[in-house]
């Protein structure tokens, strides 16, 4: 198995799906000749031509709208938001149209659409290039929101998203793009949407996370293991709908739960995860459910010092994990 980066897994999934299914096409700002600002669509223009790799104007509402129309018509569009921060003008299209099409038409129409969007900070991108926007979409039934953390999951879940008959928001952590590498089979496979995965087995505390912070948790778990603290780490992978069964199972395992995400704490995915655990397994809890998340300030600061304050890192994660273990 080849070891490839997170972003190469994106490209590989797109290429294989476009080769497999003529209906699949990508569209977005600079995805064509330029190959994407992060190079996620690198080489696709050359291979599939301008009709299947479409450069769009800087108009996210139009990108989403065109993609929804194409999906309703029977195509399999993969629209790219250059940064998740830019998704705001497209929210009306996504939430009011794509998410509700099947329901509104009583199953006559559906919307097999994928919207990819790089999110997250730690890349010195400041306000408009660092936001985590996933929580905004997590109360919209009709949408699926995924945020894989490993190259294997990226490829498998992007393929699953493209083959899904309903709209999927596919969030890619941009700091992971070149930082995270892993084994990815060259063969065709999918990873089911809606299933969390235990990335590490443990006894003392349960850590639930996704995206970049999941890797922090895994790193720290490795270190804490040397001190005799054993952490059970669950990767949510799909943020909406949540895999409640896996969450409850993981929480029961140790009775001590820490939820970690980079997004703001208040109103973040972690609150919903905590609520699921509180509802389903109160009598298995041995400690208050903890959340470690970004601060509740409007946006990622530009100043490097403040960016570090905003971002989680292994040290902050270690302090939180150790504190819970000692409780």
């Amino acid at each position: 198995m080849a070891i490839i980066s997170y972003i190469d897994a994106v490209t590989q999934a797109l290429r294989e799906e476009m080769q497999r299914d003529k209906r699949v096409f990508v569209m977005g700002e600079d995805v064509g000749v330029r190959g994407g600002v992060f190079r996620a669509t690198n080489g696709l223009y050359e291979e599939f031509g301008e009709e299947r790799v479409i450069d769009t104007p800087l108009a996210e509402s139009a990108i989403a709208g065109v993609a929804i129309g194409a999906a309703a018509y029977g195509m399999r569009p993969v629209a790219e938001m250059q940064f998740a921060d830019f998704i705001m003008p497209a929210v009306n299209q996504i939430v009011s149209e794509a998410a509700k099409m099947r329901y509104r038409s009583n199953n006559d129409w559906h919307c097999p659409l994928v919207i990819r969007a790089p999110y997250g900070g730690g890349v010195h991108g400041a306000l408009y290039h660092s936001q985590s926007v996933e929580a905004m979409f997590n109360s919209t039934p009709g949408l699926k929101v995924v945020a894989p953390s490993t190259p294997y999951d990226v490829k498998g879940m992007l393929k699953a998203a493209i083959r899904d008959d309903d709209p999927v928001l596919f969030f890619e952590h941009k700091r992971c793009y070149r930082l995270i590498k892993g084994e990815v089979p060259e063969t065709d496979y999918t990873v089911p949407i809606g299933k969390a995965e235990v990335k590490r087995e443990g006894e003392d505390i349960t850590v639930i996370s996704y995206g970049l912070t999941l890797h922090f948790a895994l790193q720290v778990a490795e270190k804490l293991a040397e001190e005799g603290i054993s952490a059970h780490v669950l990767d949510l992978r799909t943020l909406y709908p949540l895999d409640k069964e896996s969450i409850v199972e993981a929480a029961r395992k140790t009775g001590k739960v820490l939820i970690i995400h980079e997004d703001n704490k208040e109103g973040g995915v972690g609150g919903e995860v905590a609520a699921v655990i509180a509802e389903e397994c109160l009598f298995d809890l041995d400690a208050p459910i903890r959340r470690l998340a970004g601060p509740d300030v409007p946006a990622m600061p530009y100043s490097p010092t403040l960016e570090k304050f905003f971002m989680l890192n292994p040290d902050k994660v270690m302090a939180a994990m150790r504190e819970l273990a000692e409780f």
Partner: protein, 451 residues
């Protein structure tokens, strides 16, 4: 001042870069913003500009090396003198100021560690007896009286794992080594203690009295210094040596007057010619090594059922830094001149100060020479550097009135102290050995050649 140039962040999402080509070489003078090297990443190709004006002293990365953002690529010497300071090649660096996060600081400082010492005490602290839902449920389902369980959680809280362990042990509290938190053998030993009247069903466990190692707490205002690996190693080696080897100790006085004169006559010229200071250490090592040749048993090791006498004479020298002690080794010290020994001492000391000692530098010692005089000591009882058989220390050279030929004279005197492993060595041979060292030190004079 020497400035470290680090791999800059060359674009969003870029985490590493490859040095394609150096545009400068050591010795070159660079202006601020002048390009230092070409770097390629999978996203961009760029030149790394200098952050300072100065002279390039060392290229750390080589062409073709791939480095993470924030890793060191080269050193530039700027005009002002002083200590090294890391500077990212661009203000965008995100790695270097790693120590600031307050969260990383140790939330432990003011939180008592789980379950040290008496559990009776800590269980009492968990007064109010608040139990988590998991603990309550387990206690009910298994008919357990929670008062019987010692808690290992914060402030003696009974955790779910404590209850599970209690059930697993058939109603006895034992603290498994898997408990979170730092646990060492001493603590584990102490933890056996706290089982107070276990449940009716279980056989009475043997309650051993506490090996009285009282819990050591920090008082308000105290500073807790975490023990790093070097400190841990020093601690365990010292304990092991004191524990395993019965230390005997002896001391003699040596008249160093002639040696002091000799060194004074040589040191200015030596410094000018060789570029480093001529100390007493090489003369001392030379005398020790020559005496070991006469009494080879000094150069041996206790091996349980036998004593191994080493052929090579590799002298460990104790070199202290501000917070640690290292014993790098001069290999085959018997084959070196005084100059050769001086050079070896200087090199090893420099390596130690710069943290560049290799495993090879540190291993293979057969006898240790310790220069305690360098910090003014006149008497010391060194701990033997295991598994060696002895360690000698040279104390301060001080002017003292002494009797020479029934006259009182002012002489430069020094004490030599020897700690010996009494399993291997006895007083007689050590006394003879010291006399030999003494004779050799006193025999140095204007005729002595250091080369």
């Amino acid at each position: 001042m020497e400035t470290q140039v680090l791999m800059p962040q060359l674009g969003e999402s870029v985490t590493e870069g490859t040095i394609a080509k150096w545009l400068i070489k050591p010795g070159d003078t660079v202006k601020k913003y002048e390009p230092l090297c070409e770097v390629t990443t999978d996203k961009v190709n760029a030149e790394v500009p200098s952050t300072v004006e100065g002279t390039v002293t060392e290229l750390v990365a080589r062409e073709g090396d791939t480095l993470s953002v924030g890793e060191l690529i080269c050193y530039i010497e700027t005009r002002a003198g002083g200590a090294k300071a890391p500077v990212a090649a661009q203000p965008t660096d995100t790695k270097e100021i790693a120590s600031e996060t307050p969260a990383a600081e140790s939330p432990k400082a003011n939180i008592p560690l789980p379950s040290k010492g008496s559990v009776v005490n800590s269980a009492a602290k968990a007064a109010g007896k608040r139990y988590s839902p998991a603990v309550m449920r387990l206690a009910q389902e298994n008919n357990i009286d929670l008062a019987q369980i010692g808690g290992t959680g914060r402030e003696g809280r009974i955790t779910r794992k404590d209850v599970l362990a209690f059930i697993e042990n058939g109603g006895m509290t034992t603290q498994s080594a898997k408990q979170p938190g730092p646990i060492n053998e001493e603590e584990a030993a102490m933890n056996v203690v706290h089982v107070e009247s276990p449940s009716q069903t279980a056989p009475a466990p043997s309650v051993r009295p506490a090996v009285s190692t009282p819990e050591i707490n920090a008082y308000p205002g105290d500073t807790e210094i975490p023990v790093n690996n070097i400190r841990k190693t020093i601690a365990s080696r010292m304990v092991q040596s004191k524990h395993d080897a019965p230390h005997a100790w002896t001391m003699i006085e040596v008249d160093m007057t002639n040696l002091v004169k000799l060194r004074n006559s040589l040191k200015a010229e030596f410094k000018a010619k060789e570029g480093f200071n001529l100390t007493f250490m090489p003369f001392f090592i030379k005398a020790v090594v020559e005496s070991i040749k006469e009494f080879p048993i000094m150069n041996s090791v206790w091996a349980g059922d036998k004593i191994i006498m080493r052929k090579s004479i590799n002298v460990s020298i104790a070199v202290a830094t501000d917070d640690a002690l290292f014993v790098p080794v001069i290999k085959d010290a018997d084959q070196k001149s005084i100059y050769g020994l001086a050079r070896a001492v200087d090199e090893l000391a420099a390596k130690t100060r710069h943290g560049k000692l290799s495993m090879d530098d540190m291993s293979g010692g057969t006898f240790t020479v310790n220069n305690t005089g360098s910090f003014g000591s006149v008497l010391s009882a060194p701990i033997i550097n295991q598994p060696q058989a002895a360690i000698i220390s040279m104390e301060s050279i001080v002017k003292r009135p002494v009797v020479v030929d029934d006259m009182i004279a002012i002489r430069d005197m020094a004490n030599l102290c020897l700690s010996l492993d009494h399993r291997v060595l006895d007083g007689l041979v050590c006394g003879r050995f010291l006399q030999s060292v003494k004779q050799k030190l006193e025999a140095y004079g204007s005729h002595t050649s250091i080369y």
